[in-house]
Symmetry: C2
Subunit: 248 residues, 2 copies
Amino acid sequence: MTTPIPNICKSCTLHCDPNRFCARLTTEELIKLNGKSHSASMKRGDALSDETLMQWPIVAVSAGVLSLQHLMADGRKSIAALYMQGDIIDLRGISNRNRCSLISLGASKVCRLSPEVFEQVVSTNSDAQTSVWKNLREQTFRAIDHSVDMSKKQALEKLASFIIECNHRAFSTKEDTIIAKIPVRRVDLAEYIGVQPETVSRCFKDLQNRGIIEFENLSVVTIQDVVTLRKIANGDWNAGIQKVKVTG
Amino acid sequence: MTTPIPNICKSCTLHCDPNRFCARLTTEELIKLNGKSHSASMKRGDALSDETLMQWPIVAVSAGVLSLQHLMADGRKSIAALYMQGDIIDLRGISNRNRCSLISLGASKVCRLSPEVFEQVVSTNSDAQTSVWKNLREQTFRAIDHSVDMSKKQALEKLASFIIECNHRAFSTKEDTIIAKIPVRRVDLAEYIGVQPETVSRCFKDLQNRGIIEFENLSVVTIQDVVTLRKIANGDWNAGIQKVKVTG
DNA sequence: CGGCAAGTTGAGCCAGGTCAACTCCGGTGG
DNA sequence: CCACCGGAGTTGACCTGGCTCAACTTGCCG
């Protein structure tokens, strides 16, 4: 007895994780959707071109990190959003104000879904609809949180927020310290939080000096003091300094 | 023969505008949804409290402007998003990182929808689903655009972007100049674009001096030179200056 | 016409941008 | 095994856009 589930789906995180969209589909729906979709591997710098996105505006991320980038006239670049495992990016009708492109920040795996089949599946399978709807809302909330971070916060606060965001999106605990994996390079991180790489560096150092974080290596930090990190992220500016005063 | 459409809906923009959610519902659905919903008028400063939002996380805006505000520990306040006529705000599951409140920026009319009935209607009426889905995507794109504006842009560029956004969201043309209605006060505008009111003032003046915009009154500007405004918004910094150089 | 809130203008200061030099680190080939 | 290389990240010195604070003007409503 052969399982008729497409091979490519069998190992895909979108299908294996029961919370994700593809796990909610019937085998029949899965086959139908897969038949009209294209999965692909991407490496750092690879972009889904405008033409591709016009034809395939719906992209599911099964591994790695993608970025929605915006380029200004004078060359300033900014990363508007980060998409990771499980995100379903629905770019239908985006071409309003900013011309953006979807660029991979490392090795990643995506699946370009057929809009027609996707639409049809979503309108008939309300379980799947709920899942993708929830994901879209999460994306919206992240975008809103992010614009709050960008609008009034200082560099250190932005970085603290980012570390917390990383911790939320993919975390693991070891004994009682908390690990946050920084899934992108310094340059990308800087572009995402809207500061210069130099400033990112200085702020990391600052947090380290205050004993709030510790580096495992460049991309893994252990959060030594979550409470203070949260406070800083929320504008309680001297939260970390207090300690120094007390000991000094 | 009496039309069974609820009175409150008859005059509501969400029902009268054929593109909006409520216009897509059958009379039966409309009655059912309305029966479990509460509409309300709000004035400047009125907030939908956290408890209210917990019970009624879905709010439709039929008139006026609402803001999603975030307050930091030291009192810094920022407006994360603006919602206007036709927006359906779905705050289910928002309590992740930032505690926000929904505050009216002037006289407005809202309708708090029953999540259960809403969910049910959306899962059975795919026309309505498409409409509300589209609106949610627009909100996401706006949030993304906004976070781009906030992250790397300078004050003048942010303001230019905002004027263009206003023009997009509710515009009218008179002969060949374009009117943009600023639907919020200076203070709110400043909080939305993440600068001080003083800076907003200075930037408006700058745009006016360059002949790019003209004030009808405090809340209505005519855009004299859309092209240059767009260029400035997109980082072509000296776009307006060029003219001065040429004439000088 | 007074009174108050909203908005504007001006002067000085500082967080973070800029630019240049430096260190660190992984890969490669002699 | 080490010398070399190139790209990523860091550090330092200086400069500027926008914040701050305070005074002023404008517009709105009774």
